[in-house]
Symmetry: C2
Subunit: 207 residues, 2 copies
């Protein structure tokens, strides 16, 4: 039976491990792709256009915004970020599941006008664990860590807007949990191939 692609909105605080989870998930599932965002910020060392982001100018971004070409877009620290709608639409039409990795605010916007998506909030077992993870990166000052913790706390208070909450106590388990969610959601009546039900009923009539 042909599957319909589903739009999966995935959020989680910095330190929740969502990057690793998504990489592992994509390596396991040929039916799932990660949407690439467009941004006006400058590429960081090692970032490749069309892989990590689509890099563009403010002018071009604003033109696309005016044309309604984004599924969601927002401005942070003076840079635009957005999800180009056409890619997402094409993948879904091909039957692929498309993951949007977006922060809570952007996610809520998408949820507000698309009822057909599946939203997953990835979280940490505890705030102490988040502190340990952020500290363990050895790349951030205590001040930055405290700032990230405050953001994580604010985001966690919005978790109730999501369909599912996945606790990342262990990466492979968390990946497995998202797999479970995808498999279950594919059994939703609304996502079934209409041809199946139609086929069963029509065959019934010819008997």
């Amino acid at each position: 039976m042909a599957k319909k692609g589903m739009l999966i909105v995935l959020s989680g605080p910095s330190g929740s491990g969502k990057g690793t989870i998504i990489s592992k998930l994509l390596a396991q599932r040929e039916d799932t792709v990660l949407s690439i965002s467009m941004t006006t910020r400058a590429p960081r060392p090692g970032e490749i256009d069309g892989v990590h982001y689509y890099f563009t100018s403010r002018e071009e971004f604003e033109q696309m915004q005016a044309l309604g070409a984004f599924l969601e877009s927002a401005e942070y620290n003076g840079n635009y970020y957005g999800t180009p709608e056409s890619n997402v639409r094409n993948w879904l039409a091909e039957g692929k599941n498309v993951i949007l990795e977006i922060e809570v605010q952007g996610a809520e916007k998408v949820m507000d006008y698309r009822s057909d998506l599946v939203s997953v909030f990835i979280t940490i077992p505890s705030m102490e664990e988040l502190y340990r993870r952020l500290k363990g990166r050895n790349t951030e000052t205590e001040e930055t860590i405290q700032k990230r913790m405050a953001v994580a706390k604010r985001e966690l208070q919005r978790a109730f807007r999501y369909d599912y909450v996945v606790i990342n106590d262990e990466v492979d388990l968390a990946v497995e949990r998202i797999n479970t969610i995808i498999e279950a959601e594919q059994m939703r009546f609304a996502r079934m191939d209409e041809d199946y039900i139609k086929g069963v009923l029509e065959n019934a009539q010819t008997e």
Copy 2:
């Protein structure tokens, strides 16, 4: 993390194999029980009171109905059938998932006034397969089979009311699919232990 019990409404046409699926599922999951219906019909040979049904008199049934003691109840072929609410409530409070195996009409009634349940429609891969299964039982006349097929078709047209549709092409796969649905539903925000989110947020404040 403590799990909340969930109410699972399970329907499927005669011949969909739901009886076998439920038995296998219960054997695998200690956290799941099958609700036992009450009926006023006479026990069939081999049926045990309190195992297959609670057998009762019309008078007693009507008294319970008047007291609102049933989650749903209906009359078929001059006999009453109903799901006693107290058992279900107690199991859910213990954190058990409770399966209600009820036909489409009863299921729709329960769905109408309980938004916290999970509904699963078990179906057959095709009408031809249903015919083969009913025929294979060797217990039913062609007329009964045709009647059952007509009922199955009518029920299938109501499948859209259910959250999930599980196709029983192979029993063990179908059991696995219901397991997947239960595991995913346990990750719903609404079903999470409130203590987890509260705990994370409170610990955050004491840091």
